[in-house]
Amino acid sequence: MTEKIFEMQHIDKLYGTLLANNDVSIHLNQGEILCLVGENGAGKSTIMKILYGLEQPTDGEIYVKGEKVRFHTPSDAMAKGIGMVQQHFMLFENMTVAENIVFKNEIRKGLFMDRKRTVETVKELSEKYGLKIDPEAKIEDCPVGLRQRVEILKILYQSAEIIIFDEPSAVLTPLEVDSLLETIKSLAASGKSIVLITHKLQEVMAVADRIYVMRAGKVVAERLRGETNTDELAFLMVGHHPALRDVAAPQPGEVLLETKKLSLHREHRDILKDVDLHVNAGEVVGIAGVSGNGQTELELCLTGLERPTEGQVFLLGKEVTNASVKTHRDSGMAYISEDRYLWGSAAEGALSENVLMAKENRAEFNRYGFLKHDAIKEYTEKLIKRFDVKANDTDQKIRELSGGNAQKLITAREIMMDTPVLICCEPTRGIDIGAMEFIHDQILEKREKGCGVLLVSSELSEIMTLSDRIYVLFEGKIAGEFKRGAVDEKTLGILMLGGRRDETEKIRQ
């Protein structure tokens, strides 16, 4: 009889109108490795954030070791022996490994830090769990894999019984992933209970004892590892194959956007390596990939915001490799940035001001350097109406809009630029279904007009629905190229995770 170390019952979590968790009930047994799998936005991170006290549940109950609890902050959760390795590491860059681990529970000698004992204790800890580190190394000199190890040790130092990993392999290289999985197994063997959030099914099959599959905020299945396989899990995760739109066959024209051997080298790492891609007139080209594999840098290089280390970018046959953003835009490119507040808008600016960006030179809005405010207002109203943005008036600040409406406005601005090329990154992140379909229609309409669209998205279904051609980006390299219908989600998924082509063949048979 295994003991339930924690249990969450009927958890609901409401963000505004979005139900992120819908009646979720899960539990974890002592010494078990539990996997939570699901697509992006399925609610698996949310439920664990609730357990860790980072979010408050709208409804539902939590029991730890049979005792009813309510965590308001992570320190409450920590006091009950729950620790979480988050995707964003919470480390102090120019401090040493040992100092990071002991923070808040420092080893003292009166008022002073006891450096010697700190190092010794951390060393002992790392030896006990077989997690090798150099206690006196600075964090800033540690590669990502080591930093993660520090995070794990930090949690172990606080003697956590339950350790939650949130997509821990997202930032790691394959070798580092292997060693992480080993770590997880040995932690479980030493009596810790583990929750692993992931959407990488190989990892699940490698370590899990038990698996919950989540979709759209709900737990849709619970399986023991022995009674399932990746095929079934993949099906459960996606649920159904999304109804394919009736998309007319593409009429590809000449090449509008092309890169040749595009590479970006940063801090001794290849962010992008020899990327060759092209977008023709009248087609939507999708870039599939797990985020963090170079998509952000690719879009920045394509739009002139970042200078590639090597290689060339051609826009409508003209080389624009190191040209300014303005040259890119003037040559016929519009760009929906993946981050709507960092790049894509001025949060404190009015809607009309945000809509005007990159259009302020057009004769429509500008006469001899003077702006035609009436025309701008009218135009903004038109966009708001056409794209169904819920806003009070054009003078409202964009930060007062909900995320979805802000995204619609930004998408509207760029689509209405009427340029031959549109680079479109995560155009539907965090917005509701209706708005998503509307934006998809707009993208397809652009294609009908003979424009070339490059679509970067971490939503595989979005890529599958819209793209005429798909490139898979893995670790900054193109890992595959497919025509519409020539590939299924599973194959793409495996390529996105660095699987090889022959593996995918094997699965097909």
């Binding site: 963000y15 505004g16 739009t303 915001l305 300014s324 953003v325 303005k326 890119h328 835009r329 003037d330 760009y335 940035s337 981050d339 709507r340 507040y341 960092l342 790049w343 894509g344 808008s345 001025a346 949060a347 404190e348 600016g349 001001e353 005007l356 960006m357 990159a358 302020e360 030179n361 500008n366 350097g369 003077f370 702006l371 405010h373 009070n392 008036d393 930060r399 007062e400 909900s402 995320g403």
Partner: protein, 389 residues
């Protein structure tokens, strides 16, 4: 939302905070007056009368406000674009000195002296401002250090020049450190006799304006405010600079040239400050007197004014006139009630302190958006900011 409500919230947004700030600081002033054992109401009455009481006092206030307004406009241009330059003082000092020298030494008719002098002031102001922009762009020397140091340097250099190189040849007094006095033709004319026609002379309006006598400089400052207003609110430049100030990454994303923007902004704000110095010379002092800008704190009052108006040019004019009124009224209070005029400096400090915090946002605006949405949006925006840093 109804029209009235909308207007109400706009009004609250634009004027609520400045009003609260000014009123609170005046209450602090009242406490100070009370502590010095003077009658609060009558002191404030004297102050008001000394600032706006009749045409004579109004003139003094408006003349004083001239350089303050120009300093405020310089701050509007720079800060709205995201460059927190505090170099108005140094630019104003050099503007004043150069305009005084040109008008004194250049041969030719008075109008030519003035025009060339204004051009010289604008150029030197712009150059000095560009210097701090260059220090920022090339060497990442922050504006707070570069502009403040440059202010001190400007004051000492101007002081050196007036003491040793360009001292008034007429003056025998060893202690008067100043340049030569400008001839009548090389000064701004005065506007007077407003509402003094036969029909109006006896009315209250005519009586009020009986002693009204203000140099052109003030009207040039008003004109500058109109120009800055047009520049900031109506032109492409104004739009681009505002976006740069709100989110410099967004500006880059939209294709705005960041470097060009920096220098253009520095030039324009330098021109405004430099001209402010020239107006003070041609309108009030008719020469450069050592410390004339440094000790009066015109540029600083201008900064407070611009802050009060949230960098709106017309609002800045009003706020600067109000601040100038505090000073002239303060002098009157000093004369009759014995309360030092420096009280006003303190009040300005308090106004600034209160303007640093979004007082009303803390209370009113937060309620408008539902809490969850706000937190989520703010978290996203914060993340953006951090990534930027």
């Amino acid at each position: 939302m109804t029209k009235l409500k909308k207007f109400g919230s706009k009004f609250l947004d634009a004027l609520g905070q400045p009003l609260v700030a000014v009123l609170l600081s005046l209450s602090v002033g009242a406490i100070i007056i009370g502590l010095s054992g003077k009658n609060i109401l009558s002191s404030y009455a004297i102050m008001f009368k000394g600032a706006f009481g009749d045409g004579y006092y109004l003139s003094a206030t408006l003349q004083r406000s001239t350089a303050i307004i120009m300093g405020g406009l310089a701050v509007c241009i720079a800060w709205r674009s995201g460059y927190e330059s505090m170099g108005g003082e140094g630019q104003m000092i050099f503007g004043a000195l150069v305009s005084a020298l040109i008008a004194y030494y250049m041969p030719g008719p008075g109008i030519a002296k003035i025009l060339v002098g204004l051009a010289g002031a604008a150029i030197i102001g712009a150059l000095y401002s560009v210097l701090s922009g260059w220090l920022w762009e090339k060497f990442s020397v922050t504006f707070i250090i570069s502009t403040l140091m440059l202010n001190y340097i400007a004051n000492y250099i101007a002081s050196y020049l007036t003491t040793y190189k360009v001292k008034d040849p007429q003056s025998r007094d060893i202690n008067s450190i100043q340049t030569g006095k400008l001839i009548e033709e090389a000064r701004f004319g005065k506007v007077n006799g407003l509402f003094q026609s036969d029909g109006l002379k006896e009315t209250a309006l005519g009586q009020y304006f009986k002693d009204f006598n203000v140099h052109w400089g003030f009207f040039f400052a008003l004109l500058s405010a109109v120009l800055v207003y047009i520049l900031l609110k109506k032109t492409k430049f104004g739009y681009q600079s505002k976006m740069n100030g709100l989110n410099s990454r967004f500006a880059l994303y939209g294709g705005i040239n960041a470097r060009g923007m920096l220098y253009l902004v520095m030039i324009l704000s330098g021109i405004a400050a430099g001209l402010g110095g020239a107006f003070e010379v041609y309108g009030s002092k008719y020469r450069y007197i050592d410390q004339m800008i440094f000790s009066t704190g015109y540029a600083w009052s201008g900064m407070v004014g611009a802050l009060l108006a949230n960098f709106d040019p017309f609002g800045t004019v009003l706020a600067c006139i109000l601040l100038a009124g505090l000073s002239t009224g303060g002098s009157a209070m000093q004369r009759s009630a014995g309360i030092p005029v420096e009280t006003v400096n303190m009040l300005e400090g308090i106004i600034m302190l209160l303007m640093s915090v979004k007082l009303l946002h803390l209370i009113v605006i937060r309620r408008k958006v539902s809490k969850e949405d706000r937190l989520k949006n703010e978290a996203e925006i914060e993340n953006g900011k951090e990534a930027e840093a």
